[in-house]
């Protein structure tokens, strides 16, 4: 059993880790493994330092974990909870190197009772809205198909507006987006959203309104559950789309709006048409327009040809009839021609001034005149009265 190699492997002198090396390795391991998680537990032994940092333990029936919460996070959490308060904390597990302690670095702390109260308030507002018919499906208006003027109520600094602009830019560049800036979270968000929604009703030419914001924590979305905001949304005179947070977030504005979109990008897709599709539709209409006219022209041409045939026949008939009449008239005219009379052996005396001599007194003895006959004229002279 006295294997020198084994002894050598167990010999601690060369290979011992320093404490620092161990704690650092553990820290890397723990902090690399965990993302921030929500944990439910009871607060015990909370110490709130004048710096604003809080230290406490979070425990359940069988164990506990040390927690620290820096001042920049404790500000949002309000007053320090009393011992025994049940809370939800959002924290990232880590190792405090100086002491080698496993601890939770907490960024959010919400008493579970507050969540319960928030839930009760949500139910109250929902019931009030339902009672007033604002959640009635019959109230829902259809989204206009080819809207080109769309109001967007959101924060001009937020991701929601960028997402909407990107999607609309790709799908429907002929669109005009009218952005009404409003705080979407924190103090004043409710008032700002109500004012912005009322302003939408005063913008001429708006066909549709998107209201929303990008993703955020539960409290960040709270304004979209406010009764005032919901009622202002219901009073917007054009169809509305609510797009608050991510797919999994559902807010009361989603229920009041005419359409709920899972995200601001999705809202933009619902709001505007796809240009390529409409262009295809136009191409189809252009083809049908041309086809419609050419079939109409063909029909017209056929009708014209038939009319021309008939017209032609009629003109010929008229012409034939008139031709006979013409011939008859020509014959009559011919018969009446003075030349034809001369042909029959008559002669016409014509005075030197060109007048036809018709009476005895026109013939002066000795005066010359001419006699017109069938093939010319001859000189003559009056002999006696």
């Amino acid at each position: 059993m006295s294997n020198p190699l084994q002894l050598s492997a167990l010999d601690p002198t060369d290979e011992a880790w320093s404490v620092t090396k161990l704690v650092s390795a553990a820290k890397r391991l723990v902090e690399g493994e965990f993302v921030p998680v929500w944990i439910r537990g009871e607060v015990v032994g909370l110490k709130a330092w004048s710096s604003g940092h809080w230290y406490f333990n979070l425990r359940d029936r069988s164990t506990q974990v040390r927690c620290c919460m820096w001042s920049r996070y404790t500000i949002a959490a309000g007053k320090p909870p009393q011992d025994g308060t049940e809370v939800f904390v959002l924290g990232r597990p880590g190792i405090y190197e100086a002491k080698g302690d496993f601890q939770l670095n907490v960024t959010r702390l919400i008493p579970t009772a507050a969540i319960g109260a928030a839930q009760r308030e949500l139910e109250r507002v929902k019931e009030a809205l339902r009672r007033d018919g604002l959640l009635d499906p019959a109230r829902k208006r259809p989204i206009p198909e080819l809207a080109t003027t769309v109001a967007v109520v959101t924060s001009t600094a937020g991701a929601a507006l960028r997402d909407v602009m990107t999607v609309v830019g790709k799908r429907w560049p002929c669109c005009r987006l009218l952005v009404v800036n409003a705080r979407v979270q924190g103090d004043g968000a409710v008032g700002a959203l109500v004012r912005a929604l009322r302003l939408v009703n005063r913008i001429p030419g708006v066909e549709l309104c998107i209201v929303g914001r990008g993703g955020g924590g539960r409290e960040d979305l709270a304004a979209f559950n406010s009764e005032k905001v919901c009622r202002a949304l219901a009073e917007v005179r054009v169809p509305t789309i609510s797009a608050v947070g991510h797919e999994t977030d559902l807010s009361l504005t989603d229920l009041v709006a005419d359409v709920r979109a899972p995200t601001p990008s999705a809202a933009a897709e619902i709001a505007v048409a796809d240009r390529r599709e409409v262009l295809r539709q136009l191409d189809d209409l252009a083809a049908r327009l041309a086809g419609g006219l050419s079939s109409r022209t063909r029909l017209g041409a056929e009708r014209l040809a038939r009319t021309a045939d008939r017209l032609h026949g009629t003109i010929e008939a008229v012409f034939r009839r008139e031709r006979h009449r013409w011939d008859r008239l020509a014959a009559q005219l011919d018969a009446l021609s003075p030349l034809r009379i001369l042909d029959r052996g008559y002669a016409v005396p014509v005075g030197p001034d060109g007048y036809v001599l018709k009476r005895r007194e026109q013939f002066v003895p000795g005066a010359p005149f001419r006699l017109r006959v069938a093939d010319g004229s001859v000189a003559a002279r009056v002999e006696s009265p």
Binding site: P144, E145, L146, T148, A151, T156, M165, V168, G169, W172, P173, C174, C175, R176, L177, L178, V179, V180, N181, R195, L199, R202, I203, R275, V278, L279, Q281, L282, L285, A286, R288, L289, G291, G292, L293, S295, R296, T297, L299, G300
Partner: protein, 70 residues
Amino acid sequence: MSIAQDLARLEEIVRKLEADDVELDAALELFEEGVARLRAARERLGAAEVKVQTVLEEAGGDLRLTDLDG
């Protein structure tokens, strides 16, 4: 006149042209109007980029539109 109205009128024109009871000169008029509507709709769709404006209420209550940069 909006794109929606252009499209609706075009549909109506095409349906009339495809029916057989339009006189030729009426058909020609419809066709000419159709071509004009097509051109107008295509022009509208040809816009290069979205126009983004912010709407502000001024002290007096008037609305002011400002182009949004970017």
